[in-house]
Amino acid sequence: MVDLLPAWLADGLGDEALFWFGYLTDGRHLAWYSSVQFTLIAALLGGLCALGFGLLGAGMVGSRALPVRLFGKAYVNMVRGVPDVLFFLFFPLAFEQGVEWMASSVICSPEDIAANPGRWPPCPAANWILGTWEYLLLASVSLGIVYGAFTANVIHGALNAVPRGQIEAARAYGFSASQVFWRIRVRQMWIYALPGLSNVWLLLIKATALLSLLQIVDIVSWAGRLGAPNFTPSAGLVHPDWRWYYYLVLLLFYVLLTFLSEKGFAALTRWAGRGMAVAEARA
């Protein structure tokens, strides 16, 4: 990357600055910077999934059918007692095994299964080897499941926070039940849901630090690799254990992400609350 600098800038920077610029833009560092994509993709996809699961969960909790309501409540309360990291590891592994089980019932011959008692997968042909992108997708879905439960809580509360007068007014105009739900409740709930959704989003972006547990080479694993002490000159700059500098950079990255998200949600709240008395009272 040093070669790409214009000559006047390279001369002006001095040798030391150039050296550090070269170090920070070598191939491994560039790979580190580009691995931010996994974090951001997981956050965005996970956020979308969480919103979907949240709407679904809120619908189930508010449902009139008892079994559906019970299932919804069980889902929403699940995050109460169990750490997110457990779900985060469990769901992709369970999904992988489920697919392998289905594949094995088609591919594997009975002899193969008999030759492999108590092993997983039942026969080598049914082994599904996941790459980074598959794991990323599964990680996003499991983030969506965990934080969807939080989102469902928020949306359920927000749906009930819509002033009764508005709903009665809609009914008085002759809106049907589904029209009241979609055109009044769902339209009006966002302003009440946004503060809660902002918090769920902040939790979710922090949970994206766990991607490395699913063998995704994300910013956390790269930071560990780059900071590890290096004593062989052929492998690059010789330096002692610098890991904590790299992790400090990650910490600041997440603080920055949090800061930007807060600003973004503040703008979103202003936008969603335009013309509403409640937003002015809150601001």
């Binding site: 007692g81 169990v82 990291v85 590891l89 095994q97 809580n153 254990d241 997440y254 949090t258």
Partner: protein, 248 residues
């Protein structure tokens, strides 16, 4: 039945690892709470420097993942081993996961708890503090007899949730810190058992059951304490501790 035997075998195997999670959480709580009170008072302080430090600390620790904090502080402590800990002869303490785990959890929970306490601090009616001052109370007495009782009652339900979350955060400790001999926690044990027979449903469900059961015990104990704290106030229709996740 075969499955039932397997479940009971797992429950027996994970009893000891569960103690490590409980130890991590409960070793972090007392100092974390004390530090949080100081941070909350610092954030509310009129002293520019104290306030800025407390605000910065709380924002940094609440704005970044606990997983990264674990990595960062652990590698920082490791790199200080040769210049500091070894000459002082405290390597055995500083590098022990049984010390470092609770220490890092303590730094993390202090920030979250401080934000809760700070929120409670702001709800204290000015009149009460003024009344205390009119009685001729010193600053310390004002805190002890006016601010503190009010703050702890307002903050208790949110603090309950924080303690449960702290307990859940202990699941991450051994993903970063070294596992020495059989000092394993629930997640570590579940993963070890999983790698042995690939039965993800059994082992992870039993681990989840342990987390759930201990979380319920925490809720129960904290609710009892809350009832005691509120015993002198007229009963309200709904004073249950409601679950709310770590709202920022």
């Amino acid at each position: 039945m075969n499955l039932l035997d397997a479940i009971f075998a797992d429950i027996a195997l994970m009893a000891r690892p569960a103690l490590f999670n409980i130890y991590f959480a409960f070793a972090a709580i007392p100092l974390g709470f004390l530090f949080a009170v100081l941070l909350a008072l610092g954030k509310a302080s009129h002293n520019r420097l104290t306030s800025a430090f407390s605000r910065g600390y709380i924002y940094a620790f609440r704005g970044s993942p606990f997983f990264i904090q674990l990595f960062m502080i652990y590698s920082l402590v490791l790199s200080l081993n040769i210049p500091l800990w070894r000459p002082w002869g405290i390597s055995w303490l500083m590098l022990s996961p049984l010390f470092l785990g609770p220490a890092i959890l303590m730094l993390n929970t202090a920030a979250y708890t401080a934000e809760i306490l700070y929120g409670a601090l702001r709800t204290i009616p000015k009149g009460e503090v003024e009344a205390g001052r009119a009685f001729g109370m010193s600053r310390l007495q004002q805190f002890r007899f006016v601010t503190w009782p009010h703050m702890i009652r307002i903050a208790w339900p949110a603090y309950t949730n924080e303690v449960v979350f702290l307990f859940h955060a202990t699941a991450l400790v051994y993903f970063t810190l070294p596992v020495i001999d059989n000092q394993q926690d629930l997640m570590n044990k579940a993963r070890e058992l999983f790698e042995r027979d690939y039965n993800v449903f059994l082992h992870f469900s039993v681990a989840a059951g342990y987390f759930l059961a201990i979380s319920l015990v925490i809720f129960f104990i904290f609710r009892r304490i809350y009832r005691r704290l509120m015993a002198h106030l007229p009963a309200e229709p709904d004073r249950r501790i409601r679950y709310a996740p770590r709202w920022l």
